[in-house]
């Protein structure tokens, strides 16, 4: 049916965003990152002087730019999914491509940042702060790369909306994955780059 919602809506107006099984993964992944946050705070408390000196070597402006890119990307994906629910293929593709472009922008900034740090001789072996910096942001970066692949797949699905073929529930699961990637960075950025 044209205009069919992504997932079934109950009489009370409740609606599962995406597939329920995917939420088990999302909450588990978020919990692993919550443990990362605690590990990092524990390390900071253990050696605040070295941690502060190491944090001064990071560029918070690049981290902030990346946060703005991911937030904008998430917003584009929300608007793109709304267009997909209306079966407006061209608008959906346009917004999802915008979301992907912001994701690629995040990757470019992150690669520049890693290259800059390594160029300064700062590697995961420099000290504990940089071990955590590279491991935690690296695991997140892997999520962003997977997310960019998911967005590419969503764009291919959005193109098919014009033929009346749709897979909105799967697309919505992909959108939720991308928002989760955004949400994890929302805490990682201030924790690693900003917190005094």
């Amino acid at each position: 049916m044209p205009g069919e919602s992504a997932t079934a809506q109950t009489s009370s107006g409740e609606r599962m965003p995406g597939e329920s099984g995917a939420w088990v993964f999302f909450l588990a992944d978020m919990t692993v990152f919550a443990l990362f946050f605690h590990v990092f705070l524990y390390y900071r408390a253990d050696d605040p002087a070295l941690s502060a000196a190491s944090q001064d070597r990071l560029n918070p402006h690049l981290g902030a730019a990346n946060t703005l890119l991911l937030l904008t990307s998430s917003w584009c994906v929300v608007v793109g999914m709304r267009a997909a629910a209306r079966l407006d293929a061209s608008a959906s593709v346009r917004w999802l491509v915008g979301g992907l472009a912001c994701g690629v922008g995040f990757c470019a900034v992150k690669i520049y940042e890693y290259a800059d740090k390594i160029g300064q001789g700062l590697t995961p072996r420099t000290n504990e702060f940089f071990t955590y910096y590279f491991v935690f942001t690296g695991v997140h970066f892997l999520h962003v790369l997977i997310g960019c692949g998911v967005l590419l797949w969503m764009i291919s699905q959005a193109r098919r909306l014009a033929d009346g073929r749709r897979n909105l529930s799967h697309m919505e699961t992909g959108a939720c994955f991308w928002h989760m990637v955004d949400l994890l960075w929302i805490v990682l950025f201030p924790l690693i780059y900003l917190c005094p």
């Binding site: 329920s20 524990y42 946060t67 924790l191 780059y193 917190c195």
Partner: protein, 86 residues
């Protein structure tokens, strides 16, 4: 709140955290623990907005809403406590 309003709120909150975290905390006597806690509280508020409005948890069945709210309270509360007392 519509998606554009949420997006603008998230962008402004990010700029506030960035401003606060790059040496603009009001007064020289601001405790680092307090600044750290405020910055992380803003981060968890942003995270909650994304869950609720971008991931559509506010329209989700009660079980998922409770799981997500519970995660924010437990993860956010424990991280803020660790930030304040570390």
């Amino acid at each position: 709140m519509n998606a554009a309003t949420v997006w603008v709120t998230l962008m402004l909150a990010t700029l506030f955290s960035w401003w606060l975290g790059t040496g603009h905390a009001p007064g020289d006597g601001t405790s680092p623990a307090l600044a750290r806690t405020v910055i992380l509280a803003v981060a968890f508020f942003k995270l909650w907005l994304i869950l609720r409005y971008f991931m559509h948890v506010r329209q989700a069945p009660r079980g998922l809403r409770r799981c997500c709210d519970g995660w924010v309270v437990i993860a956010g509360g424990s991280v803020l406590a660790a930030a304040l007392w570390s």
